[in-house]
Each structure stands twice: as C-alpha cells, then as structure tokens.
Amino acid sequence: MATINPFFRKIVLFGLALLGLAWLTEKALDFGLAHNYDFKPSLVVAGHTRPDALFLGNSRVELMLNPAVFSQHTGLSAYNLGFNGSSLIQQLALLNLWLRHNPAPKYLFVEVSPENLQHSDLGFFSIHFLQDLHAPPFEDLVRRYDPRLLTLSRIPLLKYSLYNQVLVGDALVGLFRWLTGREQTLQYPGGYDPTPFVDFDETFDNYRQQHPGGIVMALDTGRVHKLGQLFRFARSKGIQVVAYEAPTLGQMLRLHRNRPAMEAVIDSVCRAEAVPFLPVDTTYLCPDRRYFFNANHLNAQGTDLFSKRLAERVRDRLIK
C-alpha cells in the first residue's frame, strides 16, 4: 500500500499535466490551422477572398483548373475549391461553408463527369468543417458520416490526433507563417496546387488489361438527386451555376461502354435545373497522353491548356 499511494499521486499529477498541455497544444494548433490560408477551409472561414467564379469538384477540379489562366481569359476572378475525392455531398457542404462566411459568388462552376454519378466510396471529409464543427448543417453531417470525430473532439487534442497526417502539418505551417508575419503569403493562390506529376503512368494500361471488354458504370440515383439539389441550392442563393466536364483520356472514354447514357443523365439534370452544361470536347487534349499523368487527370501543362479552353467557351457562350 505504501508504494501504491505515491504511484497514484504520480498518475494524477501526470494526468493533470497531460490535460493542460493537450489543451494548450490544441489551442495553438487551432490558431495555426485558422491562419494557414493554403488550407482551403481556413481561407473560406476567414472570408479573405471574393472571387466572381467559384469552382467546385473533386481532384478533376483541384488539379485540373488553373484559376489564374481562367481569369486571364474571362476577366473573372476565380477560386478553386476542388478537393481530391470530394463527393457531391461534400461539395454541397462546402458551398454551405462558403456562403456562411462569404458573399455569394456570381458564378459557380461544377465539374460533372459520369464518374461522379457512379456508386463509389462516399468522399466526405469531416476535417474541412473542423472550424464550424458544431454549427448546422455540419454537425449533422459529421455525426452521420464521421461520428468518431464528434466524440473525440470533446477531448483535448484528439481531433488532431485522429487526423494528424493532414491537420498537424497544415496547422504547423499556419503557426510558423503567423510567427514570421507571412500569413498572407499563399503558396497556392487561387486554391490551385499544380500536380508535380508530368509523365503518363502505368495505371491506365494495367486497368485496360484487367478490363479488355470495357466497363459499364453503375448509376447511383442518389448522386443524381444530390446533383440536382446542389444546383437548386446555389440558384436559390442567386448564383449562376455552370456545369462542365473536364477532359479524360480518349482511350478511357472508349473503355466506358455506357458513357453516352450517363452523359445523357447529366444533360437531363442540367436541363431540368436550367443549368448550362459544357460537355467535354473529345477532340481537344483527350487523344494525347502527353497532357495527362493518368487517364483521369491532366498534368500541369494540360491543365493550363484546358483552363484556357474552358475560359474561352465560358467567355463566348455565357458571359454577357
């Protein structure tokens, strides 16, 4: 018994020290994350940008739309709010986050490809709503798709621990920038981070080998409904919505046996919601592997060319 009491005293002291230090560290990291404006949600929450055009989508926006090139050819300021793996649920939530902290942009560009309407993993990233975790509708969404985060966020530091792979690095970048007075210096202005990958990799050839007879994409009606919901929500806020399809390698387009039928679904949703749709121009970039680093993603050179092409189509057809 004589040794147990000092042991428990030590445990209690240690617990208190741990709790205090964890709380302090969490506050420092919260501050750092909020001041790293290359972490797109922080920029959205800070309300530091007022673009005319906002781009939403997954990696086919994040890596494949250069807002500087787009602005140069349209005269519209633009921000790329694309996230790798982002689903339509995530995109709707991001638009909500944007409107909560910023005025509505004039245009909303949504990248829509048949791949977005397939059955696939969800693609909801709760960490993007960390700074508004307990605000509606984010709390409900996080409770539904990532309840672990809501539970752990009640204990100091554990939300960072759970996603330390992403959050800690970004929070430290913000903290160091703030300490050195460089918080407004953005590494990726406009939200665009050009991909470092240049050469076409082997994934498509492996994929084609595995599917010599081509593939049939499975339509997810829930996603079709969500697309319409996104369009309606944006329009209800007075935003002019434009849907477009980014380039895919031509050989991949031909591998999809029901691609025309899926594109017809997109077209019908756009018509129903009165949203102009700019389908992919299969004769431009798509035939040439030099502009892609895999079948679904352009490299930086391809991205600049596509951003210019999209800007020209927007300028000629939509901007009055």
Binding site: T3, I4, K10, P196
Partner: protein, 511 residues
Amino acid sequence: MLFNSLDFLIFFPTVVVLHFLLPHRWRWLLLLLASCYFYMAFVPAYIVILGLTIVVDYFAGLWIEKAQGERRRWLLIISLISNLGILAFFKYLGFFTENIAELLKAINLPYAAALATAAANKVFVGVLTFFGQRGVSSYTEAMSILPIGLSFHTFQAMSYTIEVYRGNQKAERHFGIYALYVMFFPQLVAGPIERPQNVLHQFHEKKTFDATRALDGLRWIYWGLFKKMVIADRLSQFVDPVFNDPNPQKYGALATASATVAFAIQIYCDFSGYSDVAIGTAKVMGYRLIENFRRPYLATNIQAFWSRWHISLSTWFRDYVYIPLGGNRVSRGRRYFNLAIVFLVSGLWHGAAWTYLAWGALHTVFNLVTVALRESGRVRLPERWWANALGVVVTFGLVSFAWIFFRAHSIHDALTLVRTLGTWRGWDVEWDSLEYWTLRTGDPRPPYRMIFSGIGLALLGLGDYLIETKKDRLSGPTLRVLRPALYAAMVVFFLLFAMFDDNKQFIYFQF
C-alpha cells in the same frame, strides 16, 4: 492483438490491475487466459496448433528428465520433429513444392510438377479449411493467413526441451506455467525468444506492485510505440512506393538509396519497437525479458552488428546450431562452413523465399570476409575515433544493402533496385526523381512537420535521458514537477505524430 491498437490499450491495463488484485496462486491462470485471448485475436483456431506443441513439449520435458541414454535422445528428437514439422508444414511446404515443381518442369517432367503442386495445394487447403480459413484455393494465397509468430514460439518451445535435455533446466511440472512460458503474451508473436532459465522461474515467484518498476516499464512501452508508430510507420510511406514498384524511370539511384536507408531505419524501429513494448509490458507486471537490441547500427563491424541485432535469435542460433556443429573448436574450413549454415538458416527462418535466402547469403559473405580478414591480420584498423566511425558507416552500408533483398518482393525486384543504385543519371534527373519520391507522401510544403518532429524528438529524448541519468542530482520537488511534465509532453508529441492506422502490423509478425 496488436500492441499499437485501441484493443490493447484496454486489454493491458485490465490485465495489470487483475494481475495485482488476484492472489499469487491464480496469476498464472489469468496470464494464460489473457495470452490465449491475445493470440486468438488474430486467427482463433490456430491456438489448437499452439496447444498441440505445448502438450508434446510439456510431456517431452518430463520424460526426457526421467529417461536415460538413447531413449532420452529419441524423446528430444520426437519433440524437435513435432515442432519443426509444424513449422515446416505451415511455413516451408509452399516454397519447397514450388521449387520442386520448377525443377521437375526444367527436367521435362511437367506432369510430375503439376501433380506435386496439386497435392500440396490439396493438403494445405484442407488443413486451412479445418482451421476455418475458407476461400483459399492454393498455398500461395494462404501465405498471409498463416499462424502468426510461428517461428518465434516454435524456437522458444524448442529451447525448453533442449535445455532440459542438456540438464540446464529442470522439467516444469506445472502444465499451466509451462504453457505460459510458451504463450506469455508480451513476447508471444514476435519475441524476444526467451530461454526457460530466464523466464520459467519468474512465473513461480510472487510479484508485488513496484511503482518505480511500473513507470520504467511504461517508459519502455512509450519509446517502443514511438519507434513503431512515429518513425517506422511514417518511413513506410517513403519505403513502400519504391520497393512495391521498383521502376528506374520513376525512382533513380538517389531515391532508391534514400528508400533503402529509410527501410534500414524502419525495420530497426519496427522490430526493436516491438521488443521494447514487450519488455515494458512484462516489466510493468514484474517480469524480466531479455534485451533484444543494443544500438545495432552503431556496430563497427558486421560481427558486432550480429551481437547487437535480434540478440535472442542470434544467441539461439549460436547455442543450438553453431556450437553443436562444432563451434570454434573445429578446423578453419569447417568453422566457415558452420558460419555459412547459421546465416543461411537464419535467412530461411525469416521467410520461405529466395529473397530471404539471398539476404542470409549476403550476411554469410560479409561475415566470412570479416573473419578471414581478421584472422589473416592483413587489415588492422587503429583504435581511433575515425576508424570506428568508418567502421560504423561501412557496416551500416553493408547491412542496408542486404536489406534490399530482405524487403524486395522477388529476386528480380531486388536486382532491379541494385541496378538502379548503380545507374547515376546526373544530378538534375536524380534530384527530380528524389523530389517525385518525397512528394508521394502528400506532406504540406514546407515540411514543418518533419522539422518540428525531428527537433521535438531530440528534445524529448534528451530530456528523458537527462532525467533518468541525473535524477540523483535533482531535488525531490524538481523531479516531481519535471517528470510528469516531460511524460505529458511525450504523450502529446506521440498523439500529434504517430500514425494511428489499424493496418500497420509489425513487420516481424509474419515470421
């Protein structure tokens, strides 16, 4: 159950509390049940195999002790065959069948090859189905679901019967305590491979709770998990792309060399991290396990490396293979042959693949050259710091080079990596390739996380070292404040930089 899992975080404190609450006479039962639960968290049915070897070795030990002359020897042989038979079946049947089939094909006997493969598949799939592993159609598919840590507990069980045979250890009468010797959960699946003289008597001794010892055990656990989850698992993000897809166009000499060094550090942190957690876990409950690593990468020659790396296995091979083969008391040629046997068998112990054999063969060459040079007296370095530093660098280089074969998926992959290492395409290309490699991890730039974690690690390590070595010079109140503050900082650091990934098993589990 993995040490780096949430389950273990609940399991371990529960076992510790119950261990000290229960009267001494029931503790063996608690530890045995806990060990069964720990093992069954992987594939429950495999406990039958473990149980079988325990029963055989328990009775073998008792009978060997009583028997005399030839009978004694035969009992040992039966025990060894039963242990090695299980190991051979589960671990080596596929490898040997595959190679025999290739050989039969090469001598134009394709039907015999197909027959051998089909027979091996039928037996293997039948046995795995018996153990509830359905959906497996061949032994190649089954390699990932073999009994976990089989080589470790088999070697530990064998050391018991051998020591009883040699008269160095009394046969254990208590079946439960003998079972616990084989199954003690801290070291059940990845060692250290214990000797009966070190562990068995500890299960008979009454353990009382000692706060200082428990805290020391927790420190071992912390640093072990730290090595695994902060260093090894992070490094795997850099190592895996290069070794899983050796492609000289993507990863040039600089990237491949960096990945090789990263793997050398990864495997050390992964395996020694496991051993540290095992030692710490046992220590909290009052049991002592042997040290398994002693700063191996600071060894100044390859022989010194092997006296510091996986010590429990090296000494096992020394005591039960090298010395029985004649040890140092035989002719030079025979000694070299014995040494080669030890390293080749050690390679095969790690896995049934040509890559492990190649790794063992490389270490055979390194060791033989070292011994030959020393005995010839031609190379004699002065006892100076620079000579030691040179020795450390060369030894680390050789060991890292051999790790290429250990980590590669095939000999072809390993040779591709070696060829890449020898092809320098100019600084610009190599630098681009290095950048491409580092960007695969998706870390934000600038890499403050790496910089901060490096500095943090150095500070925490230094703080822990200073407090533990200078504690006698610090006043009581200072120590009472410093220690919890440092440990709290260590936990915070761990929470921020460890990888909490359920799929990150320890590398040595597969052996």
